[in-house]
Symmetry: D2
């Protein structure tokens, strides 16, 4: 099944993100994915902060990331995102591709749950905020 | 089945690793895990560099990480590691616990393959280097 | 004396660059400055790598940075650069301003020398590469 | 005049701190210096957080850092600190040396002021907290 992404963000490797092997350090991709989620929220008209102020605390629970092709100095990429809901869990399907070739770089699933007053909620507020973006 | 760890490293959160939510940023745990693997190699009498010079290139393929309990400013932890071999793949089982309580912080599986001359090898050289540490 | 910048780069704070005080961590500005220098080199048609391959090794010797106004989550900035030569030393005058207000964020001087075969050179190759950009 | 350090912290380069040139990235030293200041505070029986809760906000104003000798993979260092007061300013003299050779790595001066209710204070509370450590 092909993923129908609902958001994408072009990015470029910054030199300090490259490690002594000449490739982007594995942890840096989690920064790319996080930055993409935050820009996605902004595009959807909300933010993690706004949610927190509304008493909802989105918490990262799980990351599954496959490293397919390493990025090097100055390379360009596009970071794509689809959002799925699975009960109380929100799963961000996040894939990064090289630009312009479109070679897959990483393929990730990032699972977030919502805490309300410190307890896992059904996430209806988040679901409402993202309703135009959730893939059925 | 309980994991029999073959290496452990005590660590402490550094203040700059904590983000605006007051907890260690999710990407930083990948740094903790990587640092633990490198110290493990050193303890086992080898290093990623030594391998590379011998023409073997260990490449990170997959990370699966569950976030169980967030660490905050100045907290202490112990990072534990077990190594399993599954065909051409080496799986580092890496778990971090709070100190002194022993609360699970993250639970991760990190998969590495060995390239020799740019092709995936069976990893016999790596297996030999780590033979005293591989969990059967 | 007003600085005549010869290069500028718009940037935006990424959420993971903000620390537990809610502001961009002090070390991150050095990343911003480094990224700006590298993009400047690219714009000038060269790169630190190209120089290294030509046997010239630009080495960072000194950073003097004043912190004037902290950046927070999601804020936009412009990073400006002027280049001066002082004997064998190249001084990058690097200032960052908020966008759109133009409030000064940091004011920095970054000094680089060129090693050729491991010894400090007069830097004529670098000076030639940047001749259109060096402020007299 | 020789610096009389009042605190020191042994540290070791972590592999992910090394960049594509094979040496510790320049921004990482600011992390080392910050971590040293925070550990110094802890040793002195206080913390930046404790100060903030007491209504005092120590703010970084200026960093002057000379890069003398680059650190590489796995190298050990000792980070030393002396504290001087100059009117409302607190100047941390922070030097890092290789271990075991004692070669100077970086030499830095880090200036901090104290805000109370958003205005620069004389810093008497901070001076009191550090009175056993301030070099006359």
């Amino acid at each position: 099944m092909e993923t129908k992404y609902s958001f994408e963000l072009p990015m470029q490797v910054r030199d300090y993100e490259v490690d002594s092997q000449g490739i982007v350090n594995n942890a840096v991709y989690l920064h790319y994915l996080e930055h993409t989620r935050h820009e996605f929220c902004r595009a959807a008209g909300t933010s993690f902060r706004a949610m927190q102020e509304a008493g909802i605390d989105p918490v990262l629970r799980h990351v599954d990331i496959e490293y397919l092709h390493p990025l090097g100095l100055g390379e360009e990429m596009v970071s794509r995102l689809a959002l799925r809901r699975s009960g109380a869990r929100f799963v961000f399907v996040q894939d990064i591709f090289t630009v312009p070739d479109g070679k897959p770089v990483v393929r990730a699933k990032v699972t977030v749950v919502c805490l309300e007053n410190g307890r896992i909620s059904r996430g209806d507020v988040l679901a409402e905020a993202f309703k135009d973006y959730i893939e059925e």
